[in-house]
């Protein structure tokens, strides 16, 4: 499923990303790569906040739609 379909308060594991190389690299530097676990904190009109590698990231709709995740145990 897409990250944008995730529910607040749940944990997900990144399966795949279909993003521009540049954005994928920036996410990588922030600790979000394939296989990373994240915890969804907040959703608002397509943008969302999640916790990953000990920090909070806010991403827009375009990114949230291009990250494919699978539910994971927290």
């Amino acid at each position: 499923m897409k990250l944008i379909e995730g529910k607040i308060g749940f944990c997900y594991k990144v399966e795949d990303m279909a993003l521009e190389k540049l954005i994928e690299r920036r996410l990588g530097a922030l600790g979000l790569t394939k296989g990373t676990k994240l915890y969804l904190l907040n959703k608002k009109g397509g943008s969302l906040i999640f916790k990953v590698r000990g920090t909070r990231l806010a991403v827009g709709k375009k990114i949230a739609e291009a990250i494919f995740v699978e539910e994971a145990a927290s």
Binding site: L22, I23, R25, R26, L27, G28, A29, L30, G31, T33, K34, G35, T36, L41, N42, K43, K44, G45, G46, S47, I49, K51, R53, G54, T55, R56, L57, A58, V59, G60, K61, K62, I63
Partner: protein, 687 residues
């Protein structure tokens, strides 16, 4: 020992790097740009015991790759050996993400010291860090500091002085057993006592092979392991610098693997050294529940901004009374002194009507500007600014912009120059262009004196409302322009928000003081230079014509210049040569519009009751009414920004053509909106 140590400060954005930097250098720092780019470079020198240090504040970055200007710059600066010691500042309260940069820095092979900042917050929130185990695992000195409480500062510099030549590292102790499914390579690697970061055998094999090739091809490679790693990441800069036949070794980019393995190692470190991690994030989560709430987020933000503007006007106006009194007294005494010295009328006119009227008029607005910047500094330092980007992302998305573009717009309320520079954080070039084009419509503090003056003159008890309406109008014009531009761009949905939300913290008084002082100093410098010169120039062209000194201003150079433009601005309700002239002089700095008015109408203190009465009467004689005043306010809000802003736009766009376009575009918008307002207002009042 007298040699100077070059110390590079580096760290993630929001790690408190600037606060720490300021703690050492105070406000005495040299701010310049890095050569060739518009990234700010801050330098400061200071002495500690017998050592002298030169601190360089490198840009806040998340990693040392070469994808952004800031990253490239920092990497190059460190690699070229201009830094003796690197101080890596990490936010101890979010160590996990911060250690990623640390690992990359260690791999560069220069002396690195890890400064664990925000230790006070860590303690406050019941989290603990094993400061014995951490340096053992990383192989570098780790010094706990708190830039806010100014603790650990001496120890950090002491370590810098004694660590400068120690490339050789302390004992490294770790297991690297965290990585899942470690693949066994050709041979077992035993690097754990040599390197902090050891990769899985597949990568280590490749590193070994690459080191061989690189060493063979290039004689002087300082750090072949790092080069090998960068080659595996397919770093464009390094591939260019160290070309070779790596076929068979680099079959794909190993960047993802390298990132993941670094983070796996970090996880291992965190597990060993951090106790009670979850506890401290709770308070931020609780605050975010309200501040970024899908329903409350926007109203809360609007409420905060309303309070900011309310304070700017009320507290600012209150403080202004003292200022006015001072300037009045100064002007009177100066006049008496000049008369006593039997100075000629020309000199008296130049000093009193030109300089004091112009510069003094501007100084009285200092309190308003002080409050506005104070508020913006608090919002930024507390960590709320990043939330604004998230909260506004939905709305900005409708305009085809990322929520991040809202930060430059918000900063634009303070000063357009840094706001334009902040647009650099947007990756997309088109997004950046559109943001740069609309940011000047956000009313900057230099335009505030114009609103304050004319709304006080013409709108009595509704003055605050009239001034506030300018901010709203500016916002609407910006939104409208952004939407219109969106229609012309074919590619839709290009916006993407990607921003880190830092933990909330109590704003630091020192950081805020330095930030505000910086802006106030700018304002004062401007009053002493640009506005001083502009006032003298305006005074000159108002009092002279081709035959020399003239007593009738209507015959002066200025009048002739103004009169040429009068027909153009007549439909906008601004067809007065004095107004035209002050608008032209306002290109130097928007405040000059006000000082020009004082010079043009011989008002020594434009902010005093008496001064304002003179001005209103003088304007009434010319047929300048409340509608004209409002039209003037609108025009000042929207027309071409000041020279400093134009220079910033030119720098950011790297294009003369597009900068010129921006200038013409803003003039066009200003004229159109003002004319629309004036014509409609005329019709309504006639009915």
């Amino acid at each position: 020992m007298s040699e100077q140590l070059n110390v590079g400060f580096i760290g993630n954005p929001n790690c408190g790097k600037t606060t720490l930097f300021n703690a050492y250098t105070g406000a005495k720092l040299k701010v310049a740009n890095w050569p060739g780019v518009t990234v700010e470079k801050k330098e400061g020198a200071f002495k500690y015991h017998e050592h002298s240090f030169k601190l360089v504040d490198l840009p806040g970055i998340y990693s040392l790759t070469s994808y952004t200007m800031e990253e490239k710059l920092s990497r190059q600066y460190i690699m070229e050996g201009e830094v003796d010691v690197i101080v890596d500042i990490a936010d101890a309260s979010s160590l996990e993400r911060n250690l990623y940069l640390t690992l990359q820095l260690i791999e560069l092979g220069k002396p690195v010291i890890l400064a664990l900042n925000m230790m006070d917050i860590v303690e406050e929130r019941g989290m603990e860090i094993d400061l014995h185990r951490l340096p053992e695992m990383l192989g570098i000195p780790v010094i706990p500091v708190s830039a806010r409480r100014r603790t650990g500062l001496d120890i950090l510099m002491h370590t810098v002085a004694h660590h400068k030549s120690k490339i050789q590292q302390c004992v490294l102790e770790h297991h690297h057993d965290k990585a899942e499914g470690v693949t066994k390579g050709m041979h077992q690697h035993q690097h754990h006592h040599e390197y902090v970061m050891v990769y899985d055998d597949v990568i280590e094999d490749k590193i070994d092979e690459l080191i061989q090739i690189v060493r063979g091809n290039f004689e002087h490679v300082e750090n072949p392991r790092w080069v090998a790693l960068k080659l595996l990441e397919q770093d464009e800069e390094i591939i260019k610098k160290y070309p070779g036949n790596y076929n068979g070794i680099i079959d794909r980019s190993y960047e993802n693997d390298i990132i993941n393995q670094k983070y796996d190692f970090i996880e291992e470190v965190i597990e060993e050294v951090v106790v009670n991690k979850a506890k401290m994030q709770e308070s931020t989560d609780r605050a975010d529940k309200i501040l970024t709430n899908r329903f409350l987020g926007v109203p809360v933000f609007l409420g905060i901004m309303a309070v900011v503007f309310f304070l700017t006007f009320t507290v600012g106006d209150f403080l202004k009374i003292g200022f006015e009194y001072g300037i009045n007294a100064f002007s009177d005494n100066l006049l008496k002194l000049l008369v006593k010295l039997s100075a000629s009328d020309l000199v008296i006119s130049l000093v009193i009507d030109g300089v004091v009227a112009g510069v003094g008029g501007i100084l009285t607005f200092l309190p308003n500007i002080f409050i506005l910047f104070l508020a913006l500094a608090i919002l930024e330092d507390s960590g709320y600014m990043a939330r604004v980007a998230y909260v506004m992302d939905g709305l900005m998305g409708k305009l085809g912009l990322s929520g991040r573009a809202f930060i430059p717009m918000l900063l634009g309320f303070g000063c357009t120059v840094p706001a334009i520079m902040a647009s650099r954080a947007l990756e997309d070039k088109k997004d950046r262009f559109r943001t740069i084009l609309i940011t000047p419509f956000m009313s900057c503090s230099a335009r505030l004196p114009i609103y304050v003056l004319f709304s006080q003159l013409f709108f009595g008890k509704h003055a605050m409302l009239a001034a506030y309406s300018m901010y709203v109008l500016g916002l609407f014009v910006a939104i409208f322009v952004a939407m219109a531009m969106r229609l012309f761009t074919k590619k839709k949905e290009i916006h993407t928000l990607l921003i880190e939300l830092p933990e909330y913290k109590t704003p630091n008084i020192r950081t805020i003081f330095i930030y505000v002082w910086d802006k106030v100093k700018d304002y004062l410098t401007k009053a002493g230079t640009t506005i001083f010169v502009a006032s003298v120039v305006v005074w000159f062209i108002m009092n002279f014509n081709e035959t020399g000194l003239t007593t009738n201003m209507g015959d002066s150079f200025g009048a002739s210049i103004g009169k040429i433009m009068v027909p153009v601005l007549k439909p906008a309700g601004l067809g007065f040569w004095q107004v035209v002239l002050s608008l032209i002089s306002g290109l130097a700095a928007k405040e000059v519009v006000v000082s020009s008015f004082s010079v043009l109408f011989h008002v020594s203190n434009i902010n005093s009751r008496a001064g304002q009465d003179i001005l209103v009467n003088a304007l009434a004689v010319e047929g300048f009414s409340a509608i004209n005043a409002y039209a003037l306010m609108i025009f000042c809000l929207l027309y071409t920004p000041c020279v400093a802003t134009l220079a910033a736009i030119k720098r950011e766009l790297h294009s003369f053509k597009w900068s010129l376009f921006a200038v013409c575009f803003q003039l066009f918008v200003a004229w159109t909106v003002t004319t629309m307002f004036y014509q409609i207002a005329q019709i309504i009042t006639k009915c």
